[in-house]
């Protein structure tokens, strides 16, 4: 286990002005276990507590209660040892605007103990990997958001950490750079690096990670591989808009091939396996019941359906 966390909690005391304060329960008791060499995702809407969780694991924020061991060391009592073994790319990035990216990279390399020569070699390597060589000597404030993020990643990897934390690594990247980043993450895994990333993109968690947790309001609501989690709901989902939603829900729940139904706003979602074959039966059932369909679609179930099942909300609405 490269990460083992038990009962992590973080309560912030936030100022509300005029001397009043407010308690914010950002994380309300999280258990995590991440294996070596795994790409692990924390998926959740804005404000779910993803950043706070990562910050506690990366030794930035001390937990209010609970314990965590990262790379074999306690994050509170042995923070120094943990810091030697992790890379951390914050949601904000943390690239110094006033200096050229290469300088930030060199400084980061030397702080981890490399000599000037070794640092130069390592920096060139990373600049190459992230195609940054040409813009390495420009002040970072002249770079685009995506270019800066690539610098942030390069800096996070400078010490070849066995574990890297990436907080929303693809936010603000164009599809091309997003795909590149996914490739980087996969390459890291192939080299044996463990990755813990946060995201609110369903497809990202689905495509990229070996296992994930879904976090909502500071708690884990589901955990598993993307496949397992989706299997929990069903292979496919039929989304219907029908005038008499309540009647339709009752009717569909009674069908043997329907595993579960969920009403979400004006849409009714019916989960079933082998949707292509069961769809005609579903249509016949609705017709027999005298229910007029306004619209219907059949899709593969996604992690959003998992989120919906556990929270009663869609991640698309929550985020």
């Amino acid at each position: 286990m490269i990460i083992e966390a038990h009962g992590l909690r973080k309560t912030f005391t936030a100022k509300r002005g005029r001397g009043r304060t407010e308690e914010v329960e950002a994380v309300r008791g999280i258990d995590l276990a991440v294996d070596e060499g795994e790409v692990f995702a924390c998926l959740g809407p804005n404000g779910a507590g993803k950043t706070t969780t990562v910050r506690m694991l990366a030794t930035f924020t001390a937990p209010t209660s609970g314990t965590a061991r990262v790379a074999g060391h306690d994050v509170v009592n042995e923070a120094g040892k943990v810091r030697e073994k992790i890379g951390y790319v914050s949601q904000a990035g943390g690239v110094d605007d006033n200096a050229p990216g290469r300088e930030s990279l060199l400084l980061a390399a030397r702080i981890t103990g490399l000599s000037r020569k070794q640092a130069l070699v390592r920096a060139d390597e990373l600049l190459e990997t992230f195609s940054l060589t040409e813009i390495a000597n420009r002040p970072a404030k002249t770079l685009s958001g995506g270019q800066k993020r690539r610098f942030a990643l390069a800096i996070g990897l400078v010490n070849r950490p066995p574990l890297i934390f990436l907080d929303e690594p693809t936010t603000g990247l164009d599809p091309q750079n997003r795909a590149n980043l996914w490739d980087e993450v996969r390459a890291l895994r192939d080299q044996g690096t463990s990755v813990l990333l946060t995201t609110h993109y369903l497809d990202e968690a689905d495509a990229l990670c070996d296992r994930l947790v879904i976090i909502d309001h500071g708690l884990i609501v589901a955990e598993g591989t993307p496949g397992e989690l989706k299997k929990e709901v069903a292979g496919d989902v039929v989304t219907l808009r029908i005038d008499d939603q309540a009647a339709a829900q009752e009717l569909l729940s009674a069908q043997p091939y329907i595993k579960e139904t969920q009403a979400e706003g004006d849409a009714l979602r019916a989960y079933l396996d082998d949707g292509e074959h069961n769809l005609p039966a579903l249509l016949r059932a609705l017709e027999a019941g005298g229910l007029a369909i306004r619209s219907i679609s059949l899709d593969r179930a996604t992690l959003d359906d998992v989120f919906l099942r556990h929270t009663g909300r869609s991640l698309r609405d929550a985020a």
Partner: protein
């Protein structure tokens, strides 16, 4: 620890070297004071002499005040750069790196001191061109005194930046303190020209001692009591404010 401090110092000096415009810009004000204000003082009974008469005599009294102004103003605003870094993730990244925490502040403070010493040399150079005569020990001790004052002022500035973490609030606080401190230190004109109550109030202002010590140095009065007093005072204050800045940095994690 020392290594990390030197690394941060080197990095910061690199930034200054690439963009030396602002430190040079900061010299405009003191040099204008020397050129356009010091000549007004030639007729005033300052520097213990009944009537100085010459520009050189006026500069002897006025230059140390202007230099302390550079040390104070230049350094007190240096922390502004760090406020943004509490938000853009730079400090967050450094905080979870293996960097020795005090080095993050120390590197910057040392950079500020080096910039300050270079600025002081330029200001003294201008004063010398205008007719001021200085002995070598006076110049060297003055540079040290500037460094001590700057060490305090810039650590204080980083401490303020890291605890206030708001540009607007910080500029209010800095402005609130600097003007009375400056006036009550006799930077422009010696406090000895003022009424008794002002002279008493000035004794509670640490800057008063550094300005007085600077004037004693320029007058080659090396045995003046204000000199050890100013050095001692500023070293203690510098250590206190450095400690505060480092502790404030640890608290940014919330």
């Amino acid at each position: 620890m020392f290594r990390h401090t030197m690394l941060f110092l080197g990095y910061e000096l690199g930034n200054v070297r690439r963009n030396p415009v602002w430190p040079l810009f900061g010299l405009m004000q003191p040099i204008l004071y020397l050129l356009l204000f010091a000549p007004l003082l030639t007729g005033l009974p300052i520097g213990g002499k009944p009537s100085g008469g010459t520009l050189a005599n006026a500069l002897l009294v006025f230059t140390p005040g202007v230099m302390m102004m550079v040390a104070l103003f230049g350094s007190l605003f240096t922390g502004f750069s760090m406020i943004n870094e509490t938000r853009n993730g730079v400090l967050e990244r450094l905080a979870v790196s293996p960097a020795w925490r005090p080095a993050i502040i120390l590197g910057r403070v040392l950079k500020d001191m080096i910039v300050l010493i270079l600025q002081a040399i330029l200001v003294m150079g201008v004063a010398v061109l205008m007719g001021l005569r200085l002995s070598l020990p006076a110049v060297l001790l003055m540079l040290l005194l500037m460094a001590a004052t700057g060490l305090f002022a810039s650590s204080l500035s980083y401490g303020l930046a890291l605890s206030i973490r708001d540009e607007g609030g910080m500029s209010q606080v800095v402005q609130l303190f600097t003007l009375p401190l400056m006036l009550l230190a006799g930077m422009m004109l010696p406090i000895s020209l003022g009424p008794d109550w002002m002279q008493t109030a000035a004794r509670f202002n640490p800057l008063y001692y550094s300005v007085e010590a600077g004037r004693a140095l320029f007058a080659d009065n090396f045995s003046d009591g204000s000199i050890p007093l100013a050095f001692g005072l500023f070293l203690v204050l510098a250590v206190l404010s450095l400690g505060w800045a480092v502790r404030s940095m640890k608290r940014i994690a919330g």
